[in-house]
Subunit: 331 residues, 2 copies
Amino acid sequence: MNIYDISRKAGVSIATVSRVLNNGEHVSEKTRKKVMSVIEKEGYFPNVFARGLNMNTMQTIGILYSDASDLYLANAVYHLEYYFRKYGYNSLLCCCGYEIDQRKKYINLMLSKKVDAIILAGSHFVEEYDGDNDYIRMAAQHVPLGILSGYVSGENIACAYCNNTRAIFDTANYLFDLGSEQIIFIYNMMSDSIRCKISGLKDAYRSRGVEYREKYAVYCPITEINAIEQYIRAIRNQFQFDAVICMDDLFAVAVLKYAQSEHISVPDQLRIMGYNNSILAQCTTPMLSTVDNRTIELCEKLVEMLVKRLNGEDGPMEYSLQGRLICQGTT
Amino acid sequence: MNIYDISRKAGVSIATVSRVLNNGEHVSEKTRKKVMSVIEKEGYFPNVFARGLNMNTMQTIGILYSDASDLYLANAVYHLEYYFRKYGYNSLLCCCGYEIDQRKKYINLMLSKKVDAIILAGSHFVEEYDGDNDYIRMAAQHVPLGILSGYVSGENIACAYCNNTRAIFDTANYLFDLGSEQIIFIYNMMSDSIRCKISGLKDAYRSRGVEYREKYAVYCPITEINAIEQYIRAIRNQFQFDAVICMDDLFAVAVLKYAQSEHISVPDQLRIMGYNNSILAQCTTPMLSTVDNRTIELCEKLVEMLVKRLNGEDGPMEYSLQGRLICQGTT
DNA sequence: TTGTACGCGTTATCAG
DNA sequence: CTGATAACGCGTACAA
């Protein structure tokens, strides 16, 4: 069932069918109705490939993200899909791991699939040395490209991110105000946003006139909860930090479990902050204090910026906002 | 840059370029090299729309699921995407909510996008009255269709599911063996798998020669943790159940929090079972006992069955397995 | 307002 | 082993 069949059954030309189907202008009401009734009766819809061949678009966005098990990214992906769908775009999903070669490969795959735009979800895509981000700028030469939770300068690149530096700065100061003195930050993988967070911690120490030490940023290359607990235990045997800011809520859960197993009173002896305000923050007793980095708003804005660009309008291609401290039971 | 440009630069016809690019047979080594070098120099790749127009495929799978916030589905989606990608398929994602009209709409959208197959992830797609599942059978007339965690009979329909009836039967008997007498099951939404679970609970009561009562299946139409706690409190004021089997781990978390807030000793006074063996089961203290319904295996098998079918082979279109009890701290 | 004819970039067929 | 040409189904100038 193609446009020729419809045109024949409706007794018109394919041009008329096409017009009815698309813009709809310059068609008499009478023929329109006739054509529409045939279309509906036959359940006809245009072949997307043929249409794509002409229009060079299939109204599809490529969403890339690094890690399927990361609750933050999972959440982000769904909101991105949701907003794009609202604008009539479908989402082609691809989990591409942490290695840059894979990322490049899948970006090219998306481009070859003729997506209308590309989203890179998560700051892992952003390399520390800006020259290494040329692969992103290259991609942006072909289609508009959006980065969630990271910033890369360049034409055709939209960025939406939470000011992580500031968020951790505020968090640390909040902990200092509560009386904490040895605040550490713990993370399991370096990324653009982690660099910002560490930098925020440094700033906070400096603003208090307290010397910052390298050991306050604890690299814990582990993802399994029990193993994290062990790691924390080992670290704390080295020096008695009294507050932990975690890279995400899962880490905070592990720290809380460590504290509970050691009968360390939370928050009295140890204050714990999570990050991302995920469902995990509500699952513990006491509930985790955490930072809401407002993913949904970021996703919405990012989609909006890209859709505008896709519609030929131009407007801002950068959106940032402040994280919000959610103070619950662990501080 | 299209196939004509390449053919011109290589001094051959487009047919030869196409042959080099695809099957590659019946091309002399010499011309192949010549063509390949041009292709690589120009960074050429075929236009997917034109290719799709001929082949009527773009190597894309449509994955539909009901709920973005459901950890189980989130997990499933990622594994499905992963396995399809391994076989060279990309995944078009669509979250379509719980209403059947939306589901139908998005299934049709997927079909109109010419996906090669459709996955329905989650048992919510399966209606209780089998006649209402005709919409699934209809879709399966166009492309192979896979159901994760549910069963619908029909041509071209692949199903992969965990035997939930049996899993809950085993779970309840395990709790009976531990000494529980009043075991309830709690859920927030009816679905095919929930029906199975309730039926498993009934079976277990019967196998023990104990009368099953309707009130043992508690409908709690709530998703927010605090609200669930309240709800549980109200229920338990009505009758003092001593074990709860939850529809998922999130519910189990809420029940555990309720118990902790009431100083009810877990598992001594109250035993709690989760379901799905999600990350949440590891986040609580004590860790949740739960049921591993082996999502990854199911996803792998489902993808395998569909890919076989897409390759024209035929083989089994049904795969089921037994859930595994993970006995941890709450029983 | 409507229809004709061409182009989009492939793959497949068939002739050489 | 290679090339010319016909589909594939649609959108759209341009003509009527």
